[in-house]
């Protein structure tokens, strides 16, 4: 199964690279050179590599958040809202609690982020699971509402007192306590402790899907709902918790970004992390290992694109075009039928003996 997922990703990627190459050529650059600059800018040299990893981590966490729900067949678009809410919660816990040892302070902040996020999405989750209300729209609306809510709260209540009267008045909270910060691994680069949180989450996700009973229930629900119902899986409960867990991982992501990188809540800090996380999850075909690779790929794109745009005439949007193309192509089932038929013939030949 894993092999199939990677196959598709590679084919879609190849096509996307070609089409994007055309765009690059239209910009007046040599596509091969552009891609070379991109890879170089992402992986060549200590600082580049570290920055690439710094970007891969949030995409990894975001993809796990998305995968938990998408794997159950539920399209949760409310993760972005949870990133903001979780980030704000963590920022507030980080800033307003004093005298706590780091482990406790950070754990409290992350835990708070998880709880707030789960509570926030409990309404769309309930509506979907027990009343079959389309979750695509409810969760998307809750994201918008969450972002505006955070904006309001920070602008009017939780703002940074030192900001008043300053020329560049941003919407942000005070800095968090030292104890609440996630330490940088290679100062001054932004890669921080959250990489371990990300890896741990990935391992937990892997174990959850492959080894636990609920993980099995979740996967079956998403792949074959009829089979799941016939097999006795409680569909409502599974869908409900899928959205809640998905949201709380989004909260963890927000907390990590706030505690590890910005050290405060700044409005707009997420910049579509969750949306790109969904793309990463889809590119990785919802498999933990493929998603990790896809997250790394996304980190390479993010970091490398900047380098590429500095050195060549190619704009940052070019990379986004490629990612959008990969997502579109990868879900075109019949596109891959050609390759599937070959596989089936092989397998049925084996099955004869």
């Amino acid at each position: 199964m894993k092999k199939r997922g990677l196959d598709r990703l590679l084919i879609a990627l190849g096509l996307a690279l070609c089409i994007t190459g055309i765009f690059i050529a239209l910009s007046g650059e040599n596509p091969l050179n552009a891609y070379y600059q991109l890879i170089k800018g992402a992986l060549w040299g200590r600082s580049n590599l570290i920055t690439t990893l710094r970007w891969s981590v949030p995409y990894l966490i975001a993809s796990i958040a998305a995968a938990v729900s998408f794997k159950a067949g539920v399209f949760n678009l409310g993760i972005e809202g949870c990133v903001y809410l979780g980030g704000l919660t963590a920022a507030l816990i980080g800033a307003y609690f004093q005298g706590l040892p780091p482990l406790i302070h950070i754990s409290l902040a992350i835990f708070g982020a998880m709880v707030v996020s789960a509570l926030w999405l409990s309404i769309p989750a309930y509506l979907k699971a027990y009343h079959n209300v389309n979750e695509v729209i409810t969760t998307w609306m809750f994201t918008y509402i969450a972002i505006l809510l955070c904006q309001y709260l920070v602008r009017n209540i939780f703002f940074d007192p030192t900001d008043i009267g300053s020329a560049a008045q941003q919407v942000r909270t005070p800095y968090i306590m030292e104890a609440a910060k996630l330490k940088q691994l290679f100062p001054p680069y932004q890669l921080n402790f959250s990489i371990f949180i990300g890896i741990t989450l990935m391992i937990i996700f892997y174990i959850f899907i492959k080894k636990t009973r609920s993980g099995y229930d979740l996967s079956m629900l998403g792949t074959c709902p009829n089979f799941a119902k016939y097999g006795g899986i409680n569909i409502e409960k599974t869908q409900f918790y899928a959205i809640l867990v998905s949201g709380s991982i989004g909260g963890i992501l927000g907390a990590c970004e706030v505690l590890g990188v910005h050290h405060r809540y700044i409005h707009g800090f997420s910049n579509d992390l969750a949306t790109l996380g969904i793309m990463v999850a889809l590119m990785g075909r919802l498999n933990p290992v493929s998603m990790a690779i896809a997250a790394l790929f996304m980190g390479i794109m993010q970091n490398g694109a900047r380098a590429m745009s500095r050195v060549t005439n190619v704009s940052l949007d070019t990379v986004l075009i490629m990612i959008a193309l990969v997502v579109i192509l990868i879900s075109a089932e019949e596109f891959f039928e050609i390759f599937k038929i070959r596989q089936r013939v092989k397998q049925s030949k084996k099955g004869e003996s």
């Binding site: 199964m1 080894k211 636990t212 009973r213 099995y216 074959c224 009829n226 089979f227 084996k350």
Partner: protein
């Protein structure tokens, strides 16, 4: 009536339809020769799998013949899609109506050939006029302005008939038209048949209800296992004779695989006056009562569509529980309103007939399919974790015991043959079952070796004290395996037969055709 010299409006010559498959090609129709005379009402009867529906689908262009040709009024025709069938003059009234719910009767009738006014817009007035005219001409009265979603089933059927008359059909094919009709509505439908016949139309209809056939048909074709068994005129036959032709005169040759034991044990499953109405308000089960004792294999015989599916699904907790009345008891526990999760918790083994929509998950591996339900057992879990080591051993034993042929446990289950997939479902469900096994169509589409194996399993479990409820449209299977046979017809149990009794085979045939009922 002077129909001796009537010409044939349809002729099928040497028609065969074979569905290809690497191991088990299905011969649905085997060198069928058929003549339909113009202006007659011709019934086609046969059990499930006789090939009736396939034949009609060939006439309507949903399928194309592997071999043979079709002649309409003496001229050869190639019917490769419904459009061609319509233009040739053949119309089909499907069992599941092809109508648009939000459109009115008139709009559905003219769909595809809508009349337009000067502005190019659909002329609803003319559509209504056309509908009224056709409706009155054929005495099929219906309100042209009624929305189809507000129509009852018999009205929907009328619309379908009017539609194909509007298309200019000369031959009208009906597939089990009375399946969803009350006796009153059935009578009305037959009046429609007679009216149409007066107007010179030809009617072909598929049914398994022998009384209807004797009421309405001029000639009857009996099919069995893809071939024509006989063609008779109504006057020269009887319900009883049709019953025995339909079911096969070699019923006595079916070998019994089980011998009824002296005693049976306690009641494991008890159903009392179970009635069920589906979402369209059609009564699918009427006062069904039965019991399955330890050691019994209770076979439910009947032509498909008489309530078997609804019966099994009601027991398994998959139906809309609001529409059930009566009770279902498992070991004296009332499980009537349990959902599928609770039923599973009670360890009732349920082997479904919907292999690929319910029984397995097509895109998952064999291993993942085998462990469904078992993964929650105390013995195979460690808290929240699945004990994959133990399950590995268990699934290996499944594969060995059931002789399942597969590339590996990790291959996708669709790479296995139908028989092997069924074995997987069997292995899993029999393991899941503690005392009761309910199964529908256990060996449909399965190769002979696997059939034998599956039957042995059911027999051995009954000997171990399990109760087995076996629902199957394959009469051979029912007769060879059951300790007791119930016949279901139109949602009712119309009789109980002991297969070790003399002459039981006649009774079964008559009951399946709705000719006889006990109690």
């Amino acid at each position: 009536m002077g129909d001796v010299m009537k010409k044939n409006i349809l002729e099928l010559k040497n028609i065969s339809k074979i569905f290809p498959h690497p191991e088990n090609p299905v011969v649905a129709n085997n060198k069928v020769n058929m003549e339909i005379r113009e202006g007659e009402i011709h019934a086609i009867i046969g059990e499930n799998g006789a090939g009736k529906s396939t034949l009609m689908n060939l006439l309507y262009g949903n399928l194309t013949p592997t071999e043979g040709s079709i002649f309409f009024r003496g001229e050869k025709v190639e019917i490769d899609n419904p459009g061609t069938a319509i233009s040739t003059g053949i119309g089909m009234v499907h069992q599941h109506f092809n109508l648009i719910p939000s459109f009115t009767v008139a709009e559905n009738l003219v769909f595809g050939f809508e009349p337009t006014n000067k502005c190019g817009l659909v002329d609803l007035k003319r559509a209504k006029k056309i509908t009224r005219e056709i409706s009155e001409k054929n005495k099929l009265f219906i309100d042209p302005e009624k929305k189809v979603k507000d129509c009852v089933l018999s009205e929907k059927q009328k619309i379908e008939i009017l539609k194909i008359l509007f298309y200019g059909a000369e031959v009208l094919i009906f597939d089990e038209p009375t399946a969803v009709l009350t006796p009153q509505k059935t009578k009305e439908l037959f009046n429609v048949f007679f009216e149409l016949k007066k107007k010179g139309k030809t009617i072909i209809f598929i049914t398994h209800k022998l009384k209807e056939v004797m009421d309405v048909a001029d000639r009857i074709t009996v099919m069995r296992k893809g071939e024509i068994v006989n063609v008779v005129g109504k006057a020269s036959t009887s319900k009883e004779e049709l019953a025995s032709m339909m079911v096969g005169r070699d019923i006595k040759l079916i070998k019994r695989k089980i011998k009824n034991p002296e005693n049976f044990g306690k009641d494991i499953l008890r159903i009392n006056n179970l009635s069920y109405q589906d979402d369209y308000n059609i009564k699918r089960l009427s006062n069904v009562s039965l019991s399955v004792k330890s050691g019994e294999i209770v076979g439910i015989a009947g032509v498909g569509g008489n309530g078997q599916k609804e019966l099994i699904e009601s027991i398994a907790g998959l139906n809309n529980k609001k529409n059930i009345s009566g009770s279902i008891e498992y070991n004296n526990i009332d499980i009537t309103h349990y959902n599928s999760t609770k039923i599973r918790n009670h360890k009732i083994g349920y082997i479904t007939g919907d292999r690929f929509s319910k029984g397995v998950c097509g895109s998952s591996s064999v291993y993942e399919n085998l462990i469904m339900g078992i993964h929650n057992d105390d013995a195979y879990r460690k808290g929240i974790f699945i004990n994959h080591n133990k399950l590995d051993e268990l699934t290996n034993s499944f594969i060995e015991d059931y002789e399942i042929k597969l590339p590996s446990k990790d291959s996708i289950i669709t790479s296995l043959s139908g028989g092997n997939v069924q074995k997987c479902i069997f292995a899993r469900e029999i393991f899941n079952a503690k005392e009761l096994i309910i199964t529908e169509e256990p060996t449909r589409g399965v190769d002979i070796g696997a059939i034998e194996f599956i039957h042995e399993q059911l027999i051995s479990k009954s000997k171990d004290g399990y109760g087995v409820l076996l629902v199957s449209t394959d009469l051979d299977e029912i007769i060879s395996l059951s300790t007791k046979i119930l016949v279901i017809y139109c949602g009712r149990i119309v009789g109980i037969v002991n297969p070790e009794e003399e002459g039981f085979e006649n009774k079964i045939a008559l009951m399946m055709g709705g000719v006889e009922s006990v109690g």
